[in-house]
Each structure stands twice: as structure tokens, then as C-alpha cells.
Symmetry: C2
Subunit: 155 residues, 2 copies
DNA sequence: CTAGTAAGTCCGGAATCTGGATTTACTCTA
DNA sequence: TAGAGTAAATCCAGATTCCGGACTTACTAG
């Protein structure tokens, strides 16, 4: 009965998902990107339960993704702003959006279309920052640093 | 006591998160990208509870992201493969990874480094497919199609 | 005959999520 | 000045989900 040594990967994806890997967290961030910064507005736009949203906003503020700024005292009222770390979640949001546009849009197309300042509709593409080429799974492989047990990347 | 009309946005991000907006779902997909296709291996690498993982794999297969192929009969054994829809989640995965590398890596840097076939380490960047320029939140705005209540995008 | 492997399922307790009502401290309108 | 409205939560109790560990099934290898 030798138990197999469980060893979850140390992984940036897992760590990130511990913070934003839940529906309401990311939808709250989406709303702030769209300019809606108030609690009730975020509740209304996302459909999240108030309790749950309050908890998520706390986590996001604690993680340094959102900043809670008072806009009124007596009674205390707050708005949520993206920090620079929060703004850096933009790529995550737009790639999620693109996937949904591709695979889950109904007959009348994507529910929200963004326009880039170049004049075209936004279609998010992920490229290698170094060479500018599109990043495809088959074109990358784990760089060996110590023991690596990942097999090759194939579909 | 006029109840405020709740109207969650129809949104590709929300729809996508209904499928993959949970830690274990995306980590399972990560493992398959890394070439680990078997149930026990995915459990071991992600640390997910077996029950939960089984449920997530079912969802992912149902959503057309993974494909379950037998590699053995008697006893029946299966492997999970990415469909093309699944491979299209690569941008989501690498942008999540980049964010974690930036904000959550410890002293010894990112736990996993990918090498692009151009020879450089992978740093995922999101660009506008049309003009190739980096996509920044301030450079995009919702294109009005019918009523839109999103304010401008500002930080 | 025993041990190991692989892909799950079953279980019961713990934690989390959910919608609705309530609270607090105002401002605005009749 | 009373009543309604606004905004950010919080409280609650029931429903759901998550979790880890044990178990099952059907083999193969020694």
C-alpha cells in the first residue's frame, strides 16, 4: 500500500486561478473594465449574489487587483478601481471573450463587440512577445529547469 | 418597493466561465496541454479531488473541449485529448500563466518556462489581430449595437 | 496467490453558495 | 416633515458543492 506521492505542480496558472478562478471574480473585474465601479451596479450587471460578490471583491482588493476608494462619507460609499495588476488581467478577459465569441455565440453573433482604435473590431490574438508570431501550443515546449515530467505538447 | 430589474449582461466571458470558470477545469486542460492525458496522472499533477475531477472532465467532454478516447478495453481505460475547441483555449491558459508569472512568482522565478520555436522564452502578448498592435484597455471601446450601458473604459 | 494499476464511484462531514430580508445613514421629493 | 429612494453591505437558513479517503472492478505481472 505504497501511496503515490501526490505532487501538484507549482504553477502560475494554478496560483492565478486561486485568486480569479471563479466566475464572479472575473465578471466583477469585467464590469470594472467596462466602467461600472459600484457594488449595486456590479450586482445588477453580473447577477452575482450580494454576499458572494462582497466576498469576491474583498479577495480582489486583498490580492491587489482592485482598489476600494471612498466617494462618499456619511454614509460610507465606495467605488472599485483597477490597479495596474488588475489592468494586466485584460489579456485574460479578452481571450476568454474571444473563445466565447467563437464557440458560444448564438445566431445574432457576439453580444459585445469592441472596437480598436485602429478602426477594426477587436479580435484578440496571442503572440510571442519576442518574435511577434502567433503562439501555438505545438510551437512551444517546456524549458527544462531541473526535473520536468511534462511530456511533449501534442494535441 | 419597486424591485430593480436585474439584467445580467449577455456576455461571452460569462458563458465561457460557465464551462471553464473553475480552477480544476482549467488545470485539467493545462495537464492535457502538457501531454498528461490519463485520469490518475491529472489527479496527481493538479491535486484535484477525484470526484471533482471526474465531474469536470465530464463537463469538458460535454462542452467539446476534450475528447475521451479508449486506449484499452477489458478493463476500459480512457485518455483525454484536446479537440480544436480545446486547443483554442491555449491563449487563455498562457495569459493566465503570464499574469501569475508577473505577480505571483516567488524568488526563484516562474515555476515553468516555455520556449518558443523562435528560440526565446515565451512571454504571451495579446494584440489586435487586424493591426498587430498590443491590445490595451484604453484603446478599445464597446461598439454600440442597440442599447449599451457600458461607460467608457478607464482605469 | 498476491500485489499493483487504472479509472472511476461512494460516502459523510465541511465549506460554500444562494436569494431574500434587514440594516444604516443619508438625500430627495411632496 | 414624513415618506420614498439610494447604496453598501450583512444576516440568515436552506441547498448545493467540495473534499479526502475508502472502495470497486477488471485486469496484468511476478
Amino acid at each position: 500500500m505504497v501511496s503515490v506521492p501526490a505532487e501538484p505542480r507549482p504553477c502560475s496558472i494554478a496560483r492565478t486561478l486561486d485568486i480569479v478562478g471563479e466566475k464572479w471574480a472575473l465578471l466583477a473585474v469585467r464590469e470594472v473594465f467596462l466602467g461600472n465601479r459600484r457594488f449595486d451596479e456590479i450586482v445588477r450587471r453580473t447577477g452575482a449574489p450580494r454576499d458572494t460578490l462582497a466576498a469576491r471583491l474583498r479577495t480582489l482588493v486583498g490580492a491587489g487587483i482592485l482598489e476600494r476608494r471612498p466617494y462618499n462619507e456619511h454614509p460610507a460609499r465606495y467605488e472599485y478601481y483597477l490597479t495596474s495588476a488588475g489592468r494586466d488581467l485584460y489579456p485574460v478577459i479578452v481571450t476568454l471573450m474571444r473563445w466565447g465569441d467563437q464557440y458560444l455565440a448564438g445566431e445574432d453573433g457576439p453580444p459585445l463587440v469592441l472596437e480598436h482604435h485602429c478602426g477594426h473590431q477587436v479580435t484578440a490574438q496571442v503572440v510571442c512577445e519576442a518574435c511577434g508570431e502567433p503562439l501555438r501550443p505545438t510551437d512551444t515546449r517546456p524549458l527544462t529547469r531541473g526535473r520536468q515530467d511534462a511530456a511533449s505538447v501534442t494535441a
